[in-house]
């Protein structure tokens, strides 16, 4: 028998008053021990999902199951779920030790056991020896770790993280990304991480849920979502991308503003209107004669790892190019790309149909 999913949302809808729907009929299942990320712009409902799992609010309709048990009406303090809050929410009147021991004291564990567990949790987050510090004496990154220690010390089924890295500076943030990922793997717990930062999501997750306006646009591994975005929104939100309108001439042939290109997509209706995505790093600068496409360089920025070129083709579409080669602003250049670089998105395709279509391509299309 299959193990019940650790979290299951069944037709979950949430609205605050009759007009604002925050979540619109959400369905998903989460497996135990994985690192999930809820990704989306602010107001997309990602934090609402987290608060529903934590028990800080109840769904307006639909059911939430934890380990196969309905938990709609189980209050937050009876759920085996702990949260790392965006502002850490550490208790300012308690020191580091007492903050971490808070949950253990409520469980009325023995003094010795509490001490052992707190010390162990502090070791886990690389803060040994900090137990007697006051919260006010800790830096942002250290508070972050205390908040994580306070959550994991209770041995919860799920750890919820509500944009916990957003208050940290860039360097610390990427450090914590490694640490969180490693921590999750060492603990083997289910992490549900909320963020609006796509890089964070791509770097850490086993699986990403891209949310927009209260709905799941797409879910999948970071690679799936990056390489095969389902629609304009996901393509645009995850990474930088060139999105243009096109037409599917036939299987493996796509037409963009007067040019036809080979691609690897099939099974669409002839002459169906589609959106085309090509990632900037898949475009390669070459001479005008050798390029599949002729563009004019409008601006060029040096980004350190690469140059970022903004170019325009004759039809007026903008093509963003990431290239290690420098080009001359104002000059005409050719752009080259592989058929695999073209990603075709049907308009208004559901996630289910999208997955089916991708499967139907089989190996041969990719082997080409």
């Amino acid at each position: 028998m299959l193990e019940a999913p650790i979290i299951r949302f069944e037709n979950v809808t949430k609205f605050y008053d009759s007009e604002t729907t925050v979540l619109d009929n959400i369905n998903f299942e989460l497996e135990r021990g994985k690192f999930y990320t809820l990704l989306g712009p602010s107001g997309c409902g990602k934090t609402t999902i987290l608060r529903l799992i934590a028990g800080f609010m109840q769904p307006s309709s639909g059911n939430i199951y934890l380990n196969g048990k309905l938990i709609n009406h189980v209050p937050a303090n009876e759920r085996q779920v702990n949260t790392v809050f965006q502002d850490y929410a550490l208790f300012p009147h308690l020191n580091v030790f007492e903050n971490i021991a808070f949950g253990l004291r409520i469980k009325k564990l023995g003094k010795k056991v509490i001490e052992e567990k707190v010390i162990e949790a502090l070791k886990f987050v690389n803060l040994d020896g900090f137990e007697n510090r006051e919260i006010a004496e800790m830096s942002g990154g250290q508070r972050q770790r205390v908040a994580i220690a306070r959550a994991i010390v209770n041995d919860p089924e799920i750890i919820l993280l509500d944009e916990p890295l957003s208050a940290l500076d860039l360097k610390l943030r990427s450090e914590m990304q490694y640490e969180l990922r490693e921590l999750q793997q060492r603990l083997g717990k289910t992490f549900i991480f909320v963020t609006h930062d796509q890089e964070e999501a791509l770097a850490m997750s086993d699986e990403i849920f891209v949310l927009n306006e209260g709905q799941v646009e797409q879910n999948g591994t970071p690679k799936d979502i990056y390489d095969e975005p389902i629609n304009r929104f996901v393509a645009d939100f995850i990474g930088e991308s060139n999105i243009v309108a096109g037409t599917m001439v036939a299987d493996f042939r796509v037409h963009i503003d007067g040019n036809e290109f080979d691609c690897v997509d099939q099974g669409l209706n002839p002459n169906e209107k589609v959106d085309i995505v090509i990632r900037p790093e898949d475009l390669e600068i070459t001479s005008v004669e050798n390029g599949k496409m002729k563009v004019k360089v409008d601006t060029q920025l040096f980004r350190g790892v690469h140059y970022e070129l903004s170019t325009y083709d004759e039809a007026g579409n903008e093509w963003l190019v990431h290239s290690t080669k420098e080009a001359e602003v104002g000059s005409s250049i050719g752009l080259n790309f592989d058929p695999e670089a073209i990603h075709v998105m049907r308009l208004n395709e559901t996630e289910e149909d999208f997955d089916k279509r991708l499967e139907s391509y089989g190996e041969e299309a990719y082997a080409k």
Partner: protein, 274 residues
């Protein structure tokens, strides 16, 4: 130099005020406390204060002030908590504050009418066949009116403390398994203790020296340090003894301010208490 001069000009009103209305009166009181009825130096006033009459008086003053503070707190804390949860909290708060702008004497007189033998309360009781009750000039009416007068001063600091409390701390407490009661006793109350202390200070200290409400509402039933001072000065004309009581009252106030004035660590927010 210019700067320093202009600064000292601005400070003049302050120092004049302090000298005339704080230092001089306290110095005078201290001076009078060492004088007997005929104006000779004596320590008898202080000796007398430690006799059973005055000690009992002090004790009962503290007892009444304690009761007034306690009942104010019992009403004010839940009220303040409720107010922070309402939608237009500043408006509801204002409605509670407004009566405190009305003259104290007027409000006290109003209660004489309300609690009087022919007042509305007795009229209401008579509907149920209960005979006229003496409500005025009792401990009950004294404490009731005092609590009524002082409650806004208790609500305000507690409301401010609760309002400043980060709501995610309450979520965090529940998240870690705490019940509503544990969340209150371990998180909300400790973090709003400064508001409570400020409220206790604002109620307890003036309650110690109440005399007008005592006189009008409690008649001669309740004698406190405030009424004793009034009697010594105006009735007995013993300025020395009156001043001595006042000196002790000031000492008590200072002690209470020290006790309730300690700032708890980190009670408002991170970093502020560094």
């Amino acid at each position: 130099m210019q700067n320093k001069n202009s600064k000292s000009i601005y400070s003049v009103p302050y120092f004049v005020w302090i000298l005339l209305f704080v230092i001089a009166p306290i110095a005078l009181i201290a001076y009078y406390s060492f004088l007997d009825l005929s104006g000779n130096f004596t320590l008898d006033n202080y000796k007398n204060f430690f006799t059973s009459v005055y000690l009992k008086l002090t004790l009962s003053s503290f007892w009444y002030a304690f009761l007034i503070t306690l009942f104010s707190l019992i009403v004010a804390y839940p009220t303040a908590y409720f107010l922070t949860k309402t939608k237009h909290k500043q408006l509801w708060l204002l409605l509670i504050i407004i009566p405190s702008w009305i003259n104290l004497l007027l409000k006290t007189y109003a209660f004489i009418g309300i609690f009087g033998l022919s007042g509305p309360i007795n009229a209401f009781l008579q509907v149920f066949g209960i005979s006229e009750q003496q409500i005025l000039f009792t401990d009950f009416s004294f404490i009731f009116v005092s609590v009524y007068i002082f409650i806004p001063f208790m609500i305000l600091p507690i409301f401010n403390a609760l309002d400043k409390l980060n709501p995610s701390l309450i979520d965090a407490s529940k998240d870690l398994g705490a019940s509503n009661w544990t969340t209150f006793s371990k998180v909300i109350f400790p973090l709003t203790i400064n508001g409570v202390k400020a409220g206790v200070q604002a109620v307890f200290i003036p309650s110690l020296s109440l005399f007008m409400i005592t006189r009008l509402i409690a008649g001669n039933k309740v004698i406190t340090l405030g009424t004793a001072i009034e009697q010594q000065f105006l009735v007995t004309q013993n300025w020395g003894m009156g001043s001595t009581i006042a000196v002790f009252l000031i000492i008590f106030m200072v002690i209470i301010m020290i006790i309730t004035g300690q700032r708890e660590k980190g009670a408002t927010s991170y970093g502020k208490n560094k």
